[in-house]
Symmetry: C2
Subunit: 249 residues, 2 copies
């Protein structure tokens, strides 16, 4: 892991860009101070934060969530996994994405075409996230436990299923979850906070409620708020941190 | 309003029993201290807290919620309204209640019989709650705004519809709401926190989701947790206070 830039933010958070082989990433942590040094402080819990379906890690909404969470005493990391953000995509990937865009604009049923785009994206992203997790847990001051927080529920379901180090997960319901991950949800058993926008334009409410019902977790909480896809109220950011406080601190 | 007993609790809360005409009630408030006097402190917001379908105000779960909420900086009041708790009931009321109990034990459909018991209970309780609200707002140190918090959603819907002083409401979905109040829900427009137990034995999930959908409030949040009727996790008590903090403080 090679750090290529760093920036001190107003809220006492240090934001660092890194590369790990071909993977570009960003890590946010509270700044060290004379009172809080890597030697004296308890290791920070780590939250992996992913944006939906391959959207770039620099998306302002993701960055705002990450900074807020880091200021609350977490190491927060995001990456552009294979095929995500500005990472190169194969000609076949590009064609599938273009076809998905066309189907969305035409108002056609999306299930099969979305699965053909997002399924492989999830499969390819998982190894990059696990490699990143290995590297992050080697850094001074980061000690786990590990949480996953993200709009990208499909990736989160996959990661929580295959990655035993993930101890709690916060998902946003507003992204397409292929059938494979909907079925895999039964295998997710970590404490779960599931966030639903009640009138999300592109995501049928009943499907989201069915997904919440399917998770295997004994402790799971649904927060639903009125409004459309991007209308999640600010207090859910704080509620999300409090959820992680309960399980990771 | 006549105070008939008072008790200082460990958490800095003063618990006082009162009577208001025929209405028995309990009021919890943070104790006054040399630093916090009725003259110096900002008036406390008031929360009316009701237990389900006429259950007594002394129910330990209600009392625990009330004490916790008062310690967070609220005046909290509950009463046994007409026909509730130990208040006298007419022979007709007693017969209707016995019939409801029989139907429940027999597993019969409850809608009509429950409506015939709970509908009049709500109608008769509302004037007692409004009389109590008038009296409470005359007390030193209590200045509103006013919230309603309760398992008794049917009463809360009625009160929030007819009582403009109620500025925010927290309902537990796990009680029978007669059709009249389900229809009245559209007229409830205050900010709302709606609490649902996902596997509540006696309360169909879909009916609760439909009720949440029906409320006219622009700001409404659903919290659903795994488990049965009495399994609400402790952190929802804190979340409920934070909801009221946002709207009443």
């Amino acid at each position: 892991m090679r750090f290529i830039s760093e920036q001190r933010l107003d809220d006492g958070v240090l934001e660092r860009e890194f590369t790990l082989g071909e993977i570009p990433g960003t890590l946010w942590m509270p700044e060290w101070t004379p009172e809080r040094t890597p030697a004296s402080a308890a290791p920070l819990p780590l939250i992996l934060m992913a944006h939906n379906n391959g959207m770039p890690k620099a998306d302002p909404r993701l960055v705002a969530r990450a900074r807020y969470t880091a200021a609350r005493g977490y190491a927060v990391a995001t990456i552009d996994a294979a095929g995500c953000g500005d990472r190169p995509r194969s000609a076949a990937d590009e064609r599938a994405r273009a076809e998905l865009g066309r189907a969305m604009r035409a108002g056609e049923p999306l299930d099969d075409i979305a699965a053909s785009v997002i399924g492989p994206l999830v499969e390819n992203a998982v190894p990059d996230w696990r490699t990143t997790l290995d590297a992050l847990l080697q850094l001074p001051g980061i000690g786990g436990p590990v949480g996953y927080s993200g709009g990208w529920a499909a990736l989160g379901i996959r990661l929580a299923t295959v990655e035993p180090r993930i101890a709690a997960a916060g998902f946003h319901a507003g992204g397409f979850v292929p059938r494979a991950q909907r079925e895999e949800a039964r295998q997710v058993t970590v404490p779960l906070l599931f966030l639903l926008q009640w009138d999300d334009e592109g995501n049928p409410r009943q499907r989201a409620l069915d997904l919440f019902d399917a998770f295997g977790s004994k402790e799971k909480t649904l927060h639903a708020n009125l409004g459309g896809h991007t209308g999640t109220p600010w207090f859910e950011l704080e509620d999300g941190c409090r959820f992680f406080d309960r399980h990771l601190k």
